[in-house]
Amino acid sequence: MTDALSQLARPASDDDGRVYPHRHLLGIEGLTRPDIDLLLDRSERFVDQNRQLDKKVSSLRGRTVINLFFENSTRTRTSFELAGKRLGGDVINMSVGTSSVKKGESLIDTAMTLNAMHPDALVVRHSESGAVQLLSEKVNCAVINAGDGSHEHPTQALLDALTIRRRKGRLDGLEVAICGDVAHSRVARSNIHLLSIMGARVRLVAPPTLLPSGIERMGVEVHHDMERGIAGCDIVMMLRLQTERMKGSFVPSVREYFRYFGLDVDKLQAAKPDALIMHPGPMNRGVEIDSLVADDIDRSLIREQVEMGVAVRMAILDILVSNQTEPWSQNSGVNVQ
């Protein structure tokens, strides 16, 4: 193929002709390796941009992003808000406390009300698995899942992947241990999908009460012994244990949990000498992770994860919003079942 021809065939994208073929980001399940590569490559550029004095571009100028959080969140919401603003878009935060949801309005009514305001992207967090997908079926803008129940949290998995890739240079072939409350964790599910797609090997380390049934059929290795579980691995990814789950319902007590499943300097010795530590935050110091480990500047990636979060969210907003080329139309074919 001549150069001229290949240029003709190139779509309106600056990623070597690669196109992201999805309208929403509802989860990692269903994405392909090229999809993820594209998102991560695009994110890299925003990492550099975010380190400049002037962090703002105008690719989302004139576009509206609504952050719709049915569940409390400071970090993820702020991260999305910054991402949208640095792209030059208008970002609105819908806070649940003042919204009509408290007055009994249904999720779908809320979705349709917001849809009528012509946003270009909705960033949604909800406490129920599947709620974001349900909402995406009722609106005609791009929908980004910022966490739904115990289902998925795709931008977290993407930012984790970006963090790992920048430090280790690759994802393929790495040994990653995900430790803690897998049963209730959307972060764990998204990471299992993403890491498996990208060729990493995933082990889960948790007491059986915090592991969902059938999880081993998602292609992971399951361990109940922390030191054996993280033996020889490159990445130790800790999960947050919710306070209400550590008082006898899932584990007997905080101190017992920490003794067997908390990451401290001793247990970490089982991992590779250059193993890195991650945590999606917010951390429970002394519950799932010891401060000495969490604050180890050589091994802990926790702050870097937060930095990558903004870049990844910029990339996904940029891609999904610029994929929409048609103006909003009344005949966009959204059905109310």
């Binding site: 249904s106 698995s129 969902p212 009344q330």
Partner: protein, 444 residues
């Protein structure tokens, strides 16, 4: 009333294994003659002749598990709309669960249901009474007086009678009134937070699971109590192979136990909930493929006595919500026959056996004289095309609710005519045209 002759039919009477070409004469709402040799002087007797065109003629279906939302939520289903749905589904007798608002736990409420049902007169309606007051699982209702007023059996509906002592007393006390206790077999603690079958599918979807053992644990406990009390016990809507095994063994031991299942449990598996399809959120949840096959085996070998629709009408607002928040259950009266016939077309169950599970078996469990073509009995009949191809279309439902897990499913077999006490209550050839489809747009 003018006599009616149904001629040129494939007569199927599962009560005595009859499967033959012939005719059936109805006079005064009763079956007057039946068989391959029915002699009628049509002119002299002024007989209306219905040519069944070789279609199957069987006793009207007996559906032992139907939820009606009257009293309380009449916009979802009334006793009138349920009877219309029954007629469209070939069902001429059904039993209603007590989980209405208010709950049917008192003679006056029971009589309200019976009276309202009679005003419609499209099917026999036999209400269950609550086994415990307010379905709270604590104190027994007045079994004797309720039975006298027509309570067909006792059940806490969609709730398990969880307390072993309450169950023990219910079984023994009900026996003096010759009534069965019908259980929703599910350990409530194991099911508490779940909304889908525990396993890989639920885990991928991030839904809390209900393990299959929640069912068999309750069945096994109840079987011990049956042994202790001698009371008659029926396990409703079985969904797991383990529970079928437990009932199979109990029957071998001669215990007075029966059970039923519903079409979703032999026609669908847990894969139907993928995509968070709330219409496939049922109670018990749709199970694994191995369980589905075990349910079919149970129907085939007779361990599962009856097939019921497990009709559970819900409005849009109860289903257009995130999966775990959706009300469990689906409508089933109008798809009961067509979906059940899949078992015949896949040669899993012979037609006469399938009809047995849909007619005389549930009638006998409830002590009702229906479900046969015996001369002298009520002329409650269904005439159906065994092979007619179609599709489940909720827009055509007579039910007020449309929450079917079978939406759009291709079907083979269709009700052609339903006859209740000699009167035609449904006739596919005179079905009114489809009402204008409701249209909805996003409000701009």
């Amino acid at each position: 009333m003018r006599a009616t002759l149904y001629k040129n039919a494939r007569l199927l009477d599962p009560a005595n294994g009859l499967d033959t070409r012939g005719a059936l004469l109805v006079r005064d709402g009763k079956i007057a003659e039946v068989g391959s040799q029915v002699f009628v002087d049509a002119i002299q007797d002024d007989v209306e002749v219905v040519d069944c065109g070789g279609r199957c003629l069987a006793p009207g279906l007996v559906d032992m598990r139907v939820q009606v939302r009257e009293p309380g939520d009449e916009h979802m289903e009334t006793l009138a709309s349920a009877q219309k749905a029954a007629a469209a589904g070939g069902v001429t007798t059904f039993a209603t669960l007590p989980n209405t608002n208010p709950i049917i736990d008192d003679v006056s409420l029971l009589e309200f249901v019976e009276r309202r049902a009679l005003e419609v007169g499209l099917a026999n309606v036999h209400p269950y009474a609550a086994a415990t007051k307010g379905l709270r699982g604590e104190e027994m209702t007045e079994f004797g007086m309720l039975a006298e007023s027509g309570a067909v059996a006792f059940t806490d509906g969609e709730k398990a009678i969880a307390d072993a002592l309450v169950m023990r007393r219910a079984l023994s006390y009900a026996s003096i009134f010759k009534r069965t206790v019908v259980q929703h077999p599910e350990d409530p603690a194991l099911a508490r937070e779940g909304s889908a079958n525990e396993g890989e599918t639920a885990t991928r979807l991030g839904l809390a699971g209900i393990p299959a053992v929640a069912e068999v644990m309750m069945v096994e406990r109840d079987l011990r109590l049956v042994e202790l009390t001698g009371g008659r016990y029926h396990a409703a809507h079985l969904s797991t192979g383990a529970a079928v095994d437990a009932i199979r063994q109990a029957k071998t031991r001669g215990l007075p136990v029966t059970c039923d299942t519903a079409p979703p449990y032999f026609a669908l598996n847990e894969g139907a909930v993928v995509g968070y399809r709330t219409f496939a959120r049922l109670s018990p949840p749709l199970r694994s493929e191995a369980d589905r096959l075990a349910i079919i085996a149970g129907i085939a070998d007779g361990t599962i006595d009856a097939i019921a629709s497990d009709h559970a009408p819900h409005d849009q607002d109860s289903k257009r919500v995130p999966f775990a928040q959706a009300e469990p259950g689906g409508v089933g009266l109008e798809t009961l026959l067509a979906i059940s016939l899949e078992l015949v077309h896949t040669e899993a169950v012979p037609l006469i056996d399938l009809l047995h599970r849909l007619t005389v078996a549930p009638a006998r469990i409830l002590g009702l004289p229906y479900g046969t073509l015996a001369v002298g009995g009520d002329a409650d009949l269904v005439v159906f095309d065994l092979n007619r191809a179609g599709k489940v279309d909720p827009e055509r439902f007579a039910s007020k609710s449309r929450n079917t897990p079978f939406d759009g499913r291709p079907t083979e077999g269709r009700v052609w005519r339903t006859v209740y006490r000699g009167r035609t209550v449904y006739d596919v050839t005179t079905e009114p045209p489809l009402p204008t489809r409701r249209r909805a747009f996003v409000d701009a």
